[in-house]
């Protein structure tokens, strides 16, 4: 093992093995979840605020067709005369557009709500996709061992040494080059989800592989194999539950990262298009109007994105500390 690899036993791998160990000593992860986790949750006001904030944001994102004052995608309802109106409390604004309007006359509040929904949706989709593939890959690698394991882990190593945004950028770029130009806006969302999910997939795979390796050598697994239980069944029935703890932590961390990466891609103009804007797209468009004084077009989406990212990150931080057996 190179020194770097020794060093870079990533948090995910350590978590993987450690969580398995702690699950053993606590009997079942569920019991630990019930007591210490909830306790430390209630003890930290910051975390509670973060959780409440996250729930509020996700909730409003889910409910936005009902709670948004306007539908920003309904072109017929847009009034060009209302374009670039300031927020309600500034001279020239009105309460029908509480946060002002953008250059096309779309209500900022509604655009932000829908944008947040898109951002969260893409984030969740990317993480879900990554989790599905990653966990499966990890189980396969850990169980099969041999050259399959080595191959998957080598690829994982190389990929993991690149930052997520670069991988997402390049996957996005290749997809764009391959797909016909006129289709690009319509399927942009799928391309973005795919691009963002590549690196988390590898992370999940690494962690799950670590836990699988630990579990594979335990007596009960050996016993099951001797009896002739199919490896897939062993993997799903026994190993998977033990791995859920760190998978959850990685999922939360990656959710925040996915949301940020999607925002970054959209900001660069390579993510979601203005016809289907996420928060990142709104910020990109808004930046052009910053100097002409229409600050609301960029600041409100920015604040929302910052709040969202912060809240999810705080939750992930707390979850990671709470599940860390070393700090118990």
């Amino acid at each position: 093992m190179t020194a770097r690899r020794v060093l870079m036993v990533t948090e995910s791998e350590r978590l993987g093995a450690a969580a398995v160990a702690s699950a053993r000593s606590d009997g079942r992860l569920r019991r630990a979840l019930d007591s210490d986790l909830i306790y430390s949750f209630c003890r930290s006001p910051v975390t509670v605020i973060a959780a409440v904030g996250t729930v509020l944001m996700i909730g409003s994102a889910l409910l936005c067709p009902w709670i948004a004052p306007h539908n920003p995608f309904d072109l017929a309802s847009l009034n060009i005369l209302d374009a670039t109106d300031p927020p309600a409390w500034v001279k020239g604004g009105s309460w029908s557009y509480p946060l002002g309007t953008d250059e096309q006359g779309r209500d900022m509040l509604s655009a932000i709500l829908y944008g947040m929904r898109l951002s969260i949706a893409v984030g969740f989709a990317a993480v879900a996709l990554a989790a599905t593939f990653g966990v499966s890959l990890g189980l396969i690698a850990g169980f099969a061992g041999g050259w399959i394991d080595t191959l998957i882990m080598r690829i994982a190593d190389v990929l993991l040494s690149f930052p997520a945004i670069l991988v997402a950028l390049l996957v996005d770029g290749v997809a764009r080059s391959v797909l016909p130009r006129d289709q690009q806006d319509a399927i942009a969302i799928y391309v973005v989800v795919l691009a963002i999910s590549v690196l988390p997939t590898v992370q999940f795979a690494r962690t799950v592989r670590g836990s699988t390796l630990v579990e594979r050598n335990r007596e009960y697994v050996q016993a099951a194999r001797i009896i002739g239980v199919h490896p897939a069944l062993i993997a799903v029935r026994h190993i998977l539950p033990n791995v859920l703890g760190p998978v959850l932590v990685i999922a939360t961390i990656n959710l925040a990262l996915a949301i940020i990466n999607e925002a970054t891609l959209s900001f660069l103009g390579l993510g979601l298009p203005p016809t289907q804007p996420s928060l990142g797209t709104l910020i990109r468009v808004g930046q052009n109007y910053l100097f002409s004084g229409e600050w609301w077009m960029v600041l409100f989406p920015s604040a929302t994105l910052a709040g969202l990212a912060l809240a999810v990150n705080l939750l992930g931080d707390w979850l990671r500390d709470a599940l860390n057996p070393k700090l118990r």
């Binding site: 910020i283 930046q287 990212a309």
Partner: protein
């Protein structure tokens, strides 16, 4: 030691070959080079001739070898978007990116390490808690948001600093530098801070975590039990042990500086490699994309190699091999 170096070199070459393969595949098969180079009116015979002239009819392996050969020389073909040799484009942009990255890393280290040491040694003071909260914000915020915030405050509201471009640059025999002019330095400030912020918080948290862990070790306890003064315990023993993994992980993080440079350059319209690749992707400019991939991969591989060697040099446990081993009892 030699075996180790050779092995790592071989690994690096293998990775570069793999990346080269991907870059070549992109280059050759994504989109049609001929169609991208010529206008719509060109006849089919002319296209076929062009295809042949470009060597696109040759067997795959030959093309791959040729690609690698060209890559080794730095020849990456011609950009679809700018109709200029990619090599020249990169040459123009590289100094901008390198200067920005270098400044950012320096800044991140200069601020991050002391903050990390302080919060590691005094984890419960209000200042430490403040730093930790700030660092959480720094880690959570996307780079471009920080950039926009800085632009709003310092360019729009205060009007102190320019919000785009590099300012005036001085050409030193091919290398354009912004360090030597006032406008160059002014233009550098906000982008460098934006780029450094994420790194800074990461380094701070890393140093802090390492410090906390080191302070719990037995040898620190023993050093205390021997009555060594705090200064010696903290900065003699603890710090050295902390910095070893920190240095190596920071080196590995250099890669993410290159990545986030892409975003920072876009926010500030900084004429570097990052802006180039974003434009290239938007345009589906495959030669630029594939050469960027090769270049970035090369950076990463080189950095990883250097970091591995550095770690080997610094930690005596790895250096003195099994050959020396334990003597006596």
């Amino acid at each position: 030691m030699l075996a180790f170096v050779v092995r790592r070199l071989a690994q690096s070459v293998a990775v570069m070959l793999a990346v080269g393969f991907i870059a070549f595949a992109m280059f050759r098969f994504v989109g049609d080079p001929v169609n991208s180079l010529v206008g719509q009116d060109t006849s089919i015979e002319d296209r076929a001739k062009l295809r042949h002239d470009l060597g696109l009819d040759d067997p795959f392996v030959v093309q791959f070898a040729r690609f690698l050969g060209h890559a080794a020389e730095g020849n990456f073909g011609v950009s679809y978007q700018f109709a200029e040799p990619v090599q020249r484009l990169i040459g123009e942009r590289l100094p901008a990116t390198l200067e920005l990255s270098f400044t950012a890393v320096l800044l991140a280290l200069a601020v991050g390490v002391p903050m990390g040491v302080y919060t590691g040694l005094n984890p419960h003071t209000w200042l430490s808690r403040l730093f930790m909260s700030m660092s959480l914000v720094g880690v959570s915020l996307p780079t471009f948001l920080t950039g926009i915030l800085l632009i709003w405050i310092f360019s729009v509201v205060l009007g102190w600093l320019p919000s785009f471009g590099r300012g005036d640059v001085v050409n030193l025999g091919g290398w354009t530098t912004g360090f030597l002019t006032l406008s160059g330095i002014k233009s550098l400030i906000m982008p460098a801070i934006t780029l450094a912020l994420f790194q800074m918080t990461l380094i701070m948290r890393l140093v802090r975590a390492e410090m906390l862990e080191v302070m719990r070790t037995d040898y620190i306890k023993f050093a205390r039990a021997r009555g060594l003064p705090n200064r010696m315990v903290h900065f003699g023993h603890a710090l050295k042990n902390t910095l070893v993994p920190v240095i190596t992980i920071t080196g590995l993080q250099l890669g993410s500086v290159i990545a986030f440079a892409v975003v920072t350059e876009t926010v500030f319209q900084w004429p570097g490699m990052g802006l180039l690749i974003v434009q290239a992707i938007g345009f589906a400019d495959v030669p630029v994309m594939s050469s960027y991939l090769m270049l970035v991969a090369f950076f990463f591989v080189a950095i990883n190699l250097i970091v591995d060697l550095l770690y080997y040099a610094v930690d005596p446990r790895l250096r003195l091999d099994r050959a020396a081993g334990a003597h006596g009892h």
